[in-house]
Symmetry: C2
Amino acid sequence: MSRSGAGKPTPNIAAVAQGEESPQVSDATLCGFIGYHMKRAFNVVQADLNQTLKPLGLRMVTYSALVLIVDNPGLRQSQLAAALDVERANLVVIVDELERRDLISRDRVPSDRRAYALNPTPAGRHLYERALEAVRGHEARMLNGMEEETKQVVIRAMSRIRRGSEGGSRGG
Amino acid sequence: MSRSGAGKPTPNIAAVAQGEESPQVSDATLCGFIGYHMKRAFNVVQADLNQTLKPLGLRMVTYSALVLIVDNPGLRQSQLAAALDVERANLVVIVDELERRDLISRDRVPSDRRAYALNPTPAGRHLYERALEAVRGHEARMLNGMEEETKQVVIRAMSRIRRGSEGGSRGG
DNA sequence: ATATAACTGTTGTTCTTTATAACTAATAAT
DNA sequence: ATTATTAGTTATAAAGAACAACAGTTATAT
């Protein structure tokens, strides 16, 4: 999960050696690509986020799912799968996990007896608040006082890259 | 590997439905976090990059490994593992793959008979050039005419996030 | 010199994630 | 009514990443 030693007791000897003792390995070519920087940065973010969520018993994907369910009560599993960009089949275990912990409930919808409406329980809403607070701290730690304007530029750039793969006739 | 339909013959029905037919699922809360935008954007980049490299018989990690070996001939596997941020054990199969395709060679180093010096073959250097050209096209496609200044801001922000997890006494 | 520790590459195993196919039940379409 | 499509589920396989343990080699300590 994490190679950055965010919460590890054992320091990564190889990483220390690479960073401070034998810095002769050049990644200059890869540094010419924005995707390389995105990957390296995202690895750090992901590792820290998972460490942040671990005390709450959440992973990145279960956290995202909980947020979307609280923000969109009555959501169907298909919609959630599409929003999370995971296969419906793989979403089942995620929803199972949230349901087993009584964070959400699967409620049958009368109009369509195939579908489940996903709704947060009071415990789910409570954990949602706690998780949100924790993730806000995580982001503040990651950004570490980055200027608001810079943040906005990054967000716009990321959105543009993401939407570039779609039709692209819709303005944002 | 890819859910964005970058090179798939079958259009993702769920994605279309989510994007154009039932846009009622709100991710406003998650959109408040830069990490969310990074993940979504990186998913798109990764999918397109893998599609780009597939005709060359490369994956993201084998491509990165090849680039680092060409740029740092004589590299040891430990160093490569540290640079790629993968376990030494897991790097073995990656190097195996590159060696089996005669893109690199494992040369024993006289001064330390434990270690292998990784060197690119002529075929490796040739594929390196081809891959680099393909990835340049991929990046141009992803960025799609993004202003140079914006790119630099993003790169600096990503570098800052990444280095924030280290000691942080070194300026860049 | 010898014993001990540390390092390099390797193998094997396990866990997790992701993708795929197939299935049941329910709705929609012809 | 028959057929096709959709929602959720199950099972399985493929791929990645984490971890432990090992042989061979080098470094260190006694």
